[in-house]
Amino acid sequence: MNGTAGRNTVTRTVSGFLIPFMQLYALYLIAHGDLGPGGGFQGGAIFAASLILYAIVFGLDRAAEKRYARVAGAAAAAGLGIYGGIGLLCMAYGGNFLQYSSLPFADVKTAHHLGIYGIEIGVGLAVAGAMLFLFMKIAGSDDA
């Protein structure tokens, strides 16, 4: 990714303006998954898309590509771990795997809400990390 698009003033300005909004919108989608359309997958994909836009427009050198790929891989694994961890936490409190009602909150609805938030954050992290990792691997420079 050599960032030739970033030498054009229009793409540089517009992407620099859009990228923070895309990330904010991605976090909004992850947080409001249970109130409207949204959820972990959509938010994660849009977050990854914002970072891909940055990589395409402003360019990344090889060291940065490897760094991004490593962090994205770790984020994907962490997201999956959060999901499984919440499920095992429900088992530790006596319920079945992913049975939110066994969590020690005031009532069942709060337990479900917080369990679903945790799950959506895990899914968002996993999807964003996986998409970014895939892009860095597929579009990365040739080590010929």
């Binding site: 409207g36 359309p37 959820g39 997958f41 999807v127 996986a130 691997k137 597929i138």
Partner: protein, 120 residues
Amino acid sequence: MLETIAGKYNYWIYICLMMAGFYAIIAKGNLIKKIIGINIFQSAVFLFYISISKVPGGTAPILFDKAGLYDNPLPHVLILTAIVVSVSTTAVALAMVIRIFKEYGTMEEDRILAARKEGP
């Protein structure tokens, strides 16, 4: 006869889309064209699936005071999973295509098969 057509022509349009993707998979030799065909086929199957969930007079499956009837949310959930699985499949297929290109220098199926027949 006419009411059969009126009741089912939507399914037939979706089947046309599926067959367009299927034709790209089996008839085209270029590997990336095959991947494009897989994507077209999968999207058409999702459309077929979601069209089953629409109930006449129903609204989107989010709680709403003035709603009388809701659409069936279960196919939406299944297709959400399926879309993410389809992008995973496309990504792995593209990784394999890139490796094949590095190995054989071409992306046409018949040239790759000829190169393999000649031996390493």
